[in-house]
């Protein structure tokens, strides 16, 4: 459980950073697609090399990149739009993954892939989380300006000699890396929640880029901590607990956020109605 906690906390930091960018670049659904499409890579890696984390990691990375690059190529070469290409490819990959899993001599627990199992986090999994998290943070520090420019204004980035495609690919690779690293703790699909939910929540509160990144990381850390504790004492799956904690904060934010919340909108619209009534008197 301690190992699971450490792993989740480590990935909270990188997940918060990466998620903020995905949300700002409107790539949230791409993250979702990637999380499904890594399955066949994991299955094939298992088939070839057994349950070695490094092999699974590389398999997942290759499958994820194939989906991303494949859909980019599809949308350029045919009239299929990129979202449709992504949607089609990832579901085909996921299907292939499920098919492969059912033919494997050793059964991989599909549930583990989807939902993770906190008790089976091994020391090597922690090393993986640590390196992925560290790599993400380092890349964010080094490429911070490029990432900001490419997210905010890609054509300006390009006009000043920036390499947009490179940054895009970098973010894609980091996303896959983080998803796979989160697999053991939270499951590949729920670990996406650790990216997106803190970022969307922070987006409702923050007016500057740096605050957004920091808030997202802090929210992710708090929820991971709370989620794993709850999971430990109630026996509910750890990934689900973390995501539900994040979900609770998200819903509270949607309602009460001072600038963009539903409550504020509601109050504003009531006030507007009143002023119309007054003017009629």
């Amino acid at each position: 459980m301690q190992r699971g906690l450490i792993s989740a906390l480590l990935l909270s930091i990188s997940g918060g950073l990466l998620g903020s960018i995905l949300v700002l670049r409107r790539l949230s659904l791409m993250g979702d697609a990637l999380s499904h499409s890594v399955l066949p890579g994991i299955a094939i890696a298992w088939l070839l090399c057994g349950p070695s984390p490094v092999a699974l990691f590389i398999g997942a990375l290759i499958a994820g990149l194939l989906t991303a690059l494949g859909s980019a190529a599809l949308s350029r070469l045919t009239k299929v739009k990129e979202d449709a290409a992504f949607g089609s490819l990832f579901i085909v990959f996921f299907g292939a993954g499920v098919a492969l899993l059912s033919r494997l001599p050793v059964r991989i627990n599909l549930e583990n892939f989807l939902f993770g199992s906190i008790l089976s986090v091994s020391p090597s999994d922690i090393k993986l989380s640590l390196s992925v998290s560290a790599l993400t943070v380092v890349i964010f520090i080094i490429a911070r300006r490029g990432i900001l420019l490419e997210t905010f204004d890609p054509s300006f980035h390009r006009a000043t000699g920036g390499k947009g495609g490179f940054i895009h690919a970098l973010l894609l690779i980091l996303t896959v890396l983080n998803l796979v690293a989160g697999m053991q703790t939270m499951g590949v699909i729920l670990s996406l929640g650790l990216f997106l939910l803190p970022a969307v929540t922070a987006y409702l509160w923050c007016e500057t880029f740096l605050k957004l990144l920091l808030t997202a990381c802090i929210l992710a850390l708090i929820s991971s901590f709370a989620g794993i504790l709850i999971s430990y004492y109630t026996g509910i799956a750890s990934g689900a607990c973390i995501v539900l904690c994040l979900g609770t904060i998200f819903i509270i934010s949607v309602i009460f956020s001072p600038k963009h919340g539903v409550l504020r909108k509601l109050i504003e619209s009531i006030n507007q109605h009143r002023s119309v009534n007054h003017s009629l008197d």
Partner: protein
């Protein structure tokens, strides 16, 4: 006229997107320190013209020179302002941070902002009169203020050639006047501006020179000599509208006696 005074030179430039010819056989000069409106109907190659200046498009023919150099060596001298609509104005960032982006190309990843960088940003904010807005999130700006933030970022870049993609689109009358005034003052300061523009009257009022395009060069030079009726007819009526019988509507109209 010697070549030295022409900061941008197009020589027989052609740009193609697949089978579609966007620009054909374009030869023209842009004098240093002029502000030029790029005019023409939709799809006439206005954006293509700007993108070609930036070196984003492979030329199928000819060459473009900026200053004395080829495009690839001239990037820092060029500032590009994308259309306002392409930006997500809900992006969580303050005005100052956007203007600071103009300094990014000069900095290596490990370098921090130096005093000179901060100074350039302050100057740019001041020149465009948005110092008071510096700490505001960009989501709270009016259209005219948004445009000025972009201009400030271009200034902070320290560029001497400014490429503006439809800068007047979506601005109200006051903001349009303001922007026209800013561009005029830039001309006085010897900055070179190229802007894609839709509105002829605006072009005549705010720009000294014009380039009229219809996938090829119709006219280029002082704005009033470019926007003659003959040239406009040539750019806008050809070739599609020839099919429409101009008398058809007159015949079907009925006038009260």
């Amino acid at each position: 006229m010697s070549d030295a005074h022409n900061i941008i030179r197009f020589r027989e430039v052609g740009v193609r997107y697949g089978a579609h010819t966007a620009l054909k056989d374009l030869s023209l000069d842009i004098p240093c320190g002029s502000i030029t409106a790029i005019l023409g109907p939709n799809g006439a190659g206005k954006s293509t013209f700007l993108k070609a200046c930036l070196g984003w498009l492979p030329l199928s023919h000819g060459e473009i020179r900026i200053g004395d150099k080829h495009l690839e060596h001239a990037l820092p001298r060029l500032a590009y302002l994308p259309q306002r609509q392409t930006i997500d104005w809900d992006f969580p960032i303050t005005v100052r941070r956007v203007v600071e982006q103009g300094r990014y190309p000069r900095l290596k990843p490990w370098q921090r902002f130096k005093a000179s960088d901060h100074q350039a940003v302050n100057h740019a904010l001041e020149e465009l009169g948005i110092t008071a807005l510096a700490q505001r999130p960009i989501s709270q700006l009016s259209a005219g203020q948004q445009q000025r933030v972009f201009l400030a970022r271009a200034l902070a870049q320290g560029a001497d050639i400014f490429l503006l993609d439809e800068p007047f689109t979506g601005l109200d009358a006051t903001a349009t006047d303001e922007l026209a005034h800013i561009l005029r003052s830039w001309e006085v300061q010897g900055r070179t501006v190229l802007a894609a523009v839709h509105d002829f009257d605006l072009a005549k009022k705010a720009f000294g020179r014009g380039i009229l395009l219809a996938n090829k060069l119709i006219a280029s030079g002082p704005i009033l000599s470019v926007l003659t009726e003959a040239n406009i007819d040539l750019a806008y009526k050809a070739p599609r509208l020839f099919e429409i019988d101009p008398l058809k509507h007159a015949r079907s109209a009925s006038f009260p006696s």
